[in-house]
């Protein structure tokens, strides 16, 4: 393997996809962040199950909850984008369909995240 690479390619360490370990690393970083965020979110929702509009609104409006919710949503959609991207890469082998789907996944996750964050800000501000 080493002999097949140019010295520059070896130093860059980016491999054939030109991306190195960036995808894998970001998946891990977001995964680690999502563990405490998920536990916090689920524990909070359990307490909110029987609450009315007013109580749910007040919960999201509380600054610490708003910050953690924005982190949860943004980290979550990033992690989702990385995961679905690999599913598409694994199963779709027609280039045009694959590229189109990857774009839809990226746009969709960005739109989803932004909608969530805007909703939180509208409640909290």
């Amino acid at each position: 393997m080493g002999k097949m690479q140019t010295p520059l390619g070896k130093v860059r360490g980016l491999g054939s996809a030109k991306n190195g370990t960036h995808h894998w690393w970001m998946q891990k970083v977001t995964a680690v962040a999502l563990i405490p965020l998920t536990i916090w979110f689920v524990a909070s929702l359990v307490q909110l199950t029987s609450s009315d509009y007013e109580a749910a609104f007040m919960w999201v409006a509380y600054p610490l909850n708003a910050i953690l919710m924005i982190l949860f949503i943004s980290t979550g959609v990033y992690h989702l984008k990385l995961g679905i991207q690999v599913v598409v890469e694994d199963y779709i082998h027609v280039e045009m369909t694959k590229v189109t789907l990857q774009m839809i996944v990226t746009f969709g996750c960005a739109a989803l995240g932004l909608t969530g964050v805007l909703a939180i800000l509208k409640i909290a501000l």
Binding site: V42, Q47, T49, F57, G76, L80, I120
Partner: protein, 132 residues
């Protein structure tokens, strides 16, 4: 590319199914399901931001039997994906990679998923009190 028939290596159907194989595909399936779950989460936040009327509509959908089934599936997928994801992080660190450790962690993940999901719903429905 050459279209000539070439011998191919044995694929999935040739191997005996094991817990690790089940968890591998469950991880992917639950990940996709959580994508749909994210839509629900955004709907919840959106309805909350749009006012009481839309929030009540959301609550009406979610408290129906179909809504509860969807939420239960969401919870199960979330717990499975989190438990198995934690194992992936251990694997990435080079720990628990041999067959015996993997068999043990299979049980831990299945048990964790069932226990956490059950705990969330029992607490959420107020059956074992305390939080609500």
């Amino acid at each position: 590319m050459a279209k000539k028939e070439r011998p191919i290596s044995p694929h999935l159907q040739i191997y005996a199914w094991g817990g690790h194989m089940a968890l591998s595909i469950f991880h992917r399936a639950s990940g996709i399901a959580l994508g749909a779950g994210t839509l629900l989460l955004i709907w919840w936040l959106g309805s909350l931001a749009m006012g009481e009327e839309s929030y009540i509509l959301f609550q009406t959908y979610m408290s129906s039997i179909y809504g509860k089934i969807v939420l239960f599936a969401f919870t199960t997928a979330l717990m499975l994906h989190m438990c198995n994801g934690i194992r992936h992080l251990f694997w990435d660190a080079g720990k628990g990679f041999d067959l015996d450790a993997t068999r043990r962690s299979n049980y831990l993940i299945f048990a964790g998923t069932v226990i956490f999901t059950a705990a969330i719903w029992l607490l959420g429905l107020g059956l074992i009190g305390g939080l609500s």
